[in-house]
Amino acid sequence: MHNIYLMILVMALVTYFIRALPILLLRRQIRNRFINSFLYYVPYVTLSVMIFPDVLTSTGMLWSALAGFGTMLVLSFMKKNMFLVALASCLVVFLTETLVA
């Protein structure tokens, strides 16, 4: 194993530069319509892609994950706040796992 502190430093630097380059370099308002539209859609697409299908394996079993996923979709659609959505989803997963197991 290499020096672990050096490895941690390399990880941190690479990750920081990925995050910082656009924020430090793109300081003017972009006027291009396509780029603006692209950036507007990015959060919805990238977060959706990250949520599904990974959410299905985020708990101990598929059923509890499905129950939790359904809970977060319904409550979010009802515009409940983030804290309530997270709490309710965790609770549903916990209940499902204790009931099924």
Binding site: M1, H2, I4, Y5, I8, V10, M11, V14, T15, Y16, I18, R19, A20, P22, I23, L24, L26, R27, R28, Q29, R33, F34, I35, S37, F38, L39, Y40, Y41, V42, P43, Y44, V45, T46, L47, S48, V49, M50, I51, F52, V55, S58, T59, G60, S64, G68, T71, M72, L73, S76, F77, K80, M82, F83, V85, A86, S89, C90, F94, T98, A101
Partner: protein, 236 residues
């Protein structure tokens, strides 16, 4: 100036994320300890990296005796999505914010902080970001330290329940605006469907996940921007 109130607002809004981070970083600390990473190293990694998927992959490479180049490349691929998020954020931050503030904000770009930032009023105040970071960084670091030292004291159903918390937060960030916007609703459903298919299809499923996320994002977002360009400057 309302700097202090921006900081406080950021801290308040980030509390649920901080709680979720405690749970997930606890799991990370536990996993790192099981892979033979000392508790101090795992904690320093969380403090300096502040990224879940990248760190899980990183300890995998380190414990397998991988080299620095492999480690750097793994981080580049897995964390490439932050590049897209930062591009979107660059247009949100108040234009007159000094460079050092932009440099600090950059450090705190996580999936959840990004989600909160996009939901915050425009322009994004760097002090709001500082507030979020003030909650997220300590909880991510503390959770790692606890997980690495205390290990498996939490019962499995409880850990499993907490495992879904971050997904719930991401969902709560993107779904509410789609209630009054059919196009956004369609884009969310489409993205999830394509992502689900890509995870099981022969060729696509072999692409490393970090790269797959970026590829799918570029393709789907590019399609949406071409097919449904915004009428005016975006303000949602």
């Amino acid at each position: 100036m309302s700097r202090n109130s921006d900081v406080l607002r950021g801290m308040r809004d980030a509390v649920p994320v901080g709680l979720g981070y405690l749970a997930v970083s606890f799991a990370f600390g536990l996993a790192a300890a099981r892979m033979g990473i000392p508790a101090l190293s795992a904690t320093l990694m969380s403090l300096s990296n502040l990224t879940s998927a990248g760190q899980f992959a990183g300890v995998g490479v380190i414990s397998a005796g991988g080299g620095l180049a492999e480690l750097a490349l793994t981080q580049l691929v897995i964390n490439a999505r932050y590049f897209l998020m930062s591009c979107a954020l660059s247009q949100r931050i108040a234009p007159h914010a000094p460079l050092w503030q932009r440099a600090v904000v950059s450090f705190g770009v996580t999936d959840e902080v990004f989600a909160l930032s996009m939901a915050a009023p425009k322009p994004l105040s760097p002090h709001y970001s500082f507030g979020m970071m003030g909650v997220c960084i300590p909880s991510w670091t503390l959770g790692t330290a606890l997980g690495a030292t205390l290990g498996g004291v939490l019962p499995a159903p409880l850990m499993n329940a907490l495992g879904i918390a971050l997904y719930a937060m991401l969902t709560a960030a993107i779904v509410p605006p789609s209630r009054d916007n059919r196009l956004l609703r369609f884009i969310i459903v489409l993205s999830m469907a394509v992502s689900g298919a890509a995870a099981v299809l022969p060729v696509l499923s072999t692409i490393p996940k970090g790269l797959r996320i970026v590829l799918l994002t570029v393709v789907i977002t590019g399609w949406a921007a071409l097919r449904h360009p915004l009428e005016e400057a975006p303000d949602a």
